[in-house]
């Protein structure tokens, strides 16, 4: 099994390098500072949604409605801010609360009525899409650049100043290193196997190099984008939830063996409703970022994003049957999906072929999931 995990980690890295290499040869702009900043924003949006998706896939469910939800929640906030002239924090808070409510409701229906999540959220996909078009009256509601005052449009136009980015990078590295060293010390204390000190140092060194490179590249354009910080925050929250709370343990247990979870005293229904509720909040955040990045709330915002989120999870090693997967894997999966889309846009691939490529990657990822999860 260990061998397979290694192979899997490796295959992700290789796929990423292949995709990156291909696009940088085909288009010199791909590795340019400006495009990398755009790629970072796109990654943030895809990865944030995928981090919400993992919360419902871990216990063995699914959500097909998140793409429509992204459009709907973003649309509600756009109408409130740019047509009703509400202050954007209030409008966004209200729209997010609405999103959380919708998702709690879906979770409740799924567990109370024992209806398959696939069907409920497929209904949600259509209903939310219809509601979205009603909200924006089939028109385009532009997200006008609002200078320094409008948080909504700032979401994808604000960049951290260079010194801020450097400080942030330092803080993140210090946090990661401290967490890693603490884990290693504990494992040693328990008598569990730990990495060789050299390997540990190499890993920390590479992490540091990676962060440094990231900060330097981002600073070459305008700095670290705000969306990257949103992603960082969501990543932190979801990682802590899944790995360091009873709630997270319960997600894995329910996905691994639901009947055993019930007998173990786990409040299965509440945990699943909770997971959908958190997903609702993440859908809202993604909705704001995606709508702002599109520059307007139009009928196509959020289209097919549920599939990118699911693909990112599966590529990252999350089992669709539930019970297996990590947040770091999801980030990798999202990076592959985002790089693919970004590269194809740079090469001016027509929408037809983009769709076909996305579908092929999704099918390939599920095939890999099936192949590698075979014992």
């Amino acid at each position: 099994m260990d061998k397979k995990v290694v192979l899997r980690d490796f295959s992700l890295l290789i796929a990423l390098l292949l995709i990156g290499g291909f696009f940088s040869i085909m288009s010199p702009q791909f590795l340019g500072a400006r495009n990398l900043a755009m790629l970072m924003i796109e990654l943030s949006i895809t990865a944030t949604l995928a981090l919400g998706m993992i919360l419902v896939i871990l216990p063995g469910h699914i959500d097909l409605s998140v793409g429509s939800g992204v459009g709907l929640v973003g649309g509600i906030a756009s109408v409130l801010v740019f047509q009703q002239h509400w202050p954007s924090p209030l409008a966004m808070a209200l729209a997010a609360a609405f999103g959380i409510l919708l998702w709690l409701l879906m979770g409740w229906v799924i567990v109370r009525e024992r209806m398959p999540a696939f069907i409920i959220t497929l209904g949600g996909l259509l209903i939310f899409k219809g509601a979205f078009w009603l909200v924006i009256r089939n028109a385009t509601v532009p997200v006008a650049p609002g200078g320094t005052s409008n948080l909504y449009s700032l979401l994808t136009t604000y960049y951290l100043p260079s010194w801020g980015g450097a400080l942030l990078g330092l803080a993140v590295f210090a946090g990661l290193a401290a967490a890693k060293l603490r884990t290693v010390a504990r494992r040693k204390e328990y008598g569990f196997p730990v990495e060789e000190p050299e390997l540990l140092f190499l890993k920390l060194f590479l992490t540091g190099q990676g962060i440094l490179l990231f900060v330097v590249v981002m600073n070459q354009f305008r700095g670290i984008p705000l969306t990257a910080m949103v992603l960082g925050l969501v990543l932190l929250v979801v990682t802590v939830l899944t790995e360091h709370t009873p709630f997270g343990r319960y997600l894995y247990a329910i996905g691994g063996n639901e009947e055993a979870a019930v007998i173990s005293g786990i409040p299965v229904n509440r945990v699943i409703i909770g997971a959908y509720g958190i997903l609702g909040a993440i859908v809202a955040v993604t909705g704001f970022m995606q709508t702002a990045y599109s520059g307007a709330s139009t009928t196509t915002v959020g289209d097919l994003m549920e599939l990118d989120a699911i693909a990112a999870c599966v590529i990252g090693g999350v089992s669709l049957k539930g019970g297996r997967g990590t947040t770091l894997g999801v980030i990798f999966g999202a990076l592959i999906m985002a790089a693919l889309l970004n590269g194809m846009t740079l090469l001016a691939v027509s929408p037809e072929y983009k769709l076909i490529a996305r579908g092929a990657v999704l099918a390939l990822a599920v095939w890999m999931d099936v192949r590698l999860s075979r014992d």
Binding site: H244, Y252, V262
Partner: protein, 503 residues
Amino acid sequence: MAFDLRPGEIHALCGENGAGKSTLIKLLSGIHPAGTYEGELRVDGKGARFASVADAEAAGIAVIYQELALVPEMTVAENLFLGAEPTFGGLIDWSRVYRDSRVLLERFGLRLDPYARTASLGMGHRQLIEILKALRKESSILILDEPTAALSETETATLLDILRDLRRRGIACVYISHRLDEVFAVADRITVLRDGSSVATLETAHTDKGAALSGERSTACASKDGALMGAVIRHMVGREIKDLFPRRAPAPGPVLLSVRGLAVRGPQGDTALDDISFDVHAGEVVGLGGLMGSGRSELLMHLFGAWGTRLRGGVELGGTPLSGSPGDALRRGLALVTEDRKRYGLVLEQSVGFNLSLSSIAGLTRRGLIDGPREHRASQEIFESLRVKAPGLEARVGSLSGGNQQKVVLGKALLTGPKVIFLDEPTRGIDVGAKLEVYELINRLSEAGKAVVLVSSELPELMGMSDRILMFHEGSVGGSFTRAEATQERLMAAAMGHAAAAG
């Protein structure tokens, strides 16, 4: 490891979990292909190298596993011919499927309708269908892995009769079971495995020519069997077992669990449990016996909050009413170790540590986050005190043997700090050594003032470990006995519903 099988004999394999029985089967059935092991395998005197399961099947070896490979939604005949349907012009020849099935069923004296849906049959009949499926392939060697684990006594008897019949037809059987009485009832020879080696091959009374021919067990052999059983157990554990049921009963304390006039409706809408009343005291072991489906497991599941709807009656735990979810029950100090550990007990792909702390993790937190060191201390302590044989807390629980998986389920229940512990068939499918450890644990628990409710289908175990025994019959208590009153005859009479004998 040495092992030989003669035509027309039933050869039992005994050994503790992890002794190497499963590995041996996998070699014989081709799951572990030739080349992954050393040594030699011969079938009919010729060296055999099985590269796959199909090779083994072609050589006439059929394996019947513990978990059945039948499709419940199909009919008996469809299952019998699954994967080998006779065709006529490219289409399945259904009339031949049903005709041949009927012949096959009749040949073994099974009065079963080939059109019956498999799901409507009992476990015993399903097991027999599985065996017929293997025999249809004209196998000369049949390997049965714990075929009676899920069978009732009558179903077991039918199965053993069929095995004796096969023996007369010259088919060789390898029979694996933890139930030694069965092994002695049917086997000609017994090979004991320990730590991956065959330590002894013993001949049973059946090898006497007369007995082998009649296939019956003569009473004269009974005492010889007793001595032989002792020898088999000694070989299995590698040490002498003085007392198989070392119950030490402390003086009972106050009532911890009280059930009064309980009636429960099952998920199908019928009244599944009726008029059940009993008390369980601190330091006491109350045994629940009865036939399969008599309502013992359902009662435990209901009291735990995981089964049925209460119609009447009251349940009190420590003096206050109990009703609610399994989570509530656990918080109140009631723990349940279920019968089917793979289905209800474990998250198999997760680690030992994950499973051990699963029920108690909510209490092992600091500011909402799991307190890693505290969780590790708690799990490590129970891991060591139960002597779970595993590389460590990080080992995948699915990779452990049955007895050790059972210890993990027990450990999970104990980590919640229960006052009352329900054990549903805690020794099913585990080896003698692990059984003794479970009995020892029951003693320790009752000495620590816990109340234990023990469900068991094995009468000797029930009589050996319980201070009081309730026999269930069709959802009600058919009789209640103290340890001194209980005899096998009285218990069985109560289980069959003969209230008069239940005195």
